[in-house]
Symmetry: C2
Subunit: 275 residues, 2 copies
């Protein structure tokens, strides 16, 4: 078994594999910045950062010690990993003009199929960070990197690379990644929007939103200790019509939040009916 | 100024005030358990726990070293603080049969006016914990206690008591408390329900919901470092219609989550339009 694993882990010469990779970043936004910084910290080298508007890549390339290029004709042909981190909608037009003949080309998008990269490279893959990334904030804790590749060797290479950045690496094909992206939208984008609406409501009524931070933190933290279903509390859960009506009256001048209040309360009531 | 503050802080003899209070808990549920435990840990004494079904009060009274009573006629008349922690809808019927002649009577509800206690006592107040409390889990971090009382002396007494339990004590009248309760429902109950729906969706598709925990935690934690508005990301925020349509297709067999997806995405798009 041991020798078998060793054999599996032999990387073919075509990948020019070393533990420390030479990386080209295509894109200079939040995902490129955070993954680039993590790769640098793990000992890899960022050789180039490509961006059509080179001024936008100045600070990231300085931080990463990489050359800025603004034209794909100047792309290094000796890197191990070409990592696309641009808006989902920009991937197609980028791959039209890109040709990676050595190394592996990957994107970082939750909802874009891996095959979108085929026009630009024979060896393709995905490294999808299951985290909301901002260049201004390195996440405090490790987060999952979901990898995929179109060959077993590519998958090993990307798994090894991802494992040097995070202890939480697993494989996810297009469908799995898309479903996890949808789930991420629900738990992150939607919750964060609820926080936004609650903050505006507090501000409007001269209440300090920061009073709610321990509650928000506890709501997230206790998922380590049990399922969200078991932690549910509140007026909708206990079918407390009087309190819900009081709340809706307070939202009369706030139709957006009132609609969200009605829909989610109804869903909670329905879900926990008979509990 | 110093002497003025000292004078304000003289407590009238009618309250029989000591730093360490003698407390009667009316109720034996989540709020009574957590606040009772916090009071005990802070050096106060829980003299009695009242519950109509005494069996339900057995474990809490044992933990707190308190006598269980199942009839209000056996209520101690020498406690300093009578703390009601029952369902909002049960407060009215409880106060009908309750008479507190010494000490102060408080409730712990976000959406019940303080005056609901007037039938039962001359000295009344509120201690509202701005946290989702469960007897099975003591919150890891301090949380706000919002106090109110119908006299300045009562307010001082409750502020001092609350300050012995939490470093985050502030005053909130009925309206402020109700609005904060509404905000708490939005950030806690609604977010937790989103987690519930996302977990069910993951389970349905054999995905590990725990992969989303670092994202959920980060979404909460980074509010310490900036407004939720500034942290918003995702397809709705960047008006990425293609990804939203892909997600809605994945939710075809899940109309509840699809409706929530549509409504909140629309609200995010509307909110960040032109950003």
């Amino acid at each position: 078994m041991g020798s078998c694993l060793c054999k599996e882990r032999q990387h073919p010469a075509t990948f020019n594999y070393f533990h420390f990779m030479k990386i080209v970043l295509l894109g200079a936004g939040n995902v490129a910045t955070v993954l680039g910084k993590m790769a640098l910290d793990a000992g890899h080298t960022i050789v180039q950062v490509y961006n059509r508007t080179p001024a936008k890549a100045e600070s990231i390339s300085k931080m990463l010690g990489a050359e800025v290029i603004d034209h794909l004709s100047r792309l290094s042909d000796t890197a191990d990993l070409y990592l696309i981190a641009v808006a989902d909608s920009a991937i197609a037009s980028l791959t039209e003009n890109l040709h990676v003949s050595k190394g592996i080309l990957v994107h970082t998008a939750g909802s874009v199929p891996m095959s979108a990269l085929l026009p630009a490279s024979k060896n393709i893959g995905v490294i999808y960070p299951l985290q909301s990334l901002r260049s201004s904030r390195m996440p405090a804790a490790p987060f999952p990197l979901l990898v995929d590749a179109n060959t077993p060797d590519g998958l090993l290479l990307l798994s090894d690379f991802a494992s040097s950045l995070s202890p939480m690496v697993s494989q996810a094909n297009d469908e799995k990644r898309l479903r996890l992206h949808l789930s991420a939208v629900v738990v992150n984008n939607f919750s964060n929007h609820l926080y936004t609406l609650a903050k505006d409501y507090c501000t409007q009524h001269e209440l300090d939103f920061r009073l709610l931070l321990p509650l928000i933190k506890e709501t997230a933290d206790r998922l380590e200790a049990g399922d969200p279903t078991d932690w549910q509390t509140g007026p909708a859960m206990r079918n407390d019509e009087a309190t819900m009506q009081q709340h809706l009256q307070l939202l009369e001048s706030n139709p957006t939040l009132a609609n969200i209040y009605r829909l989610i309360s109804e869903s909670i009531r329905e879900y926990h009916r008979g509990n």
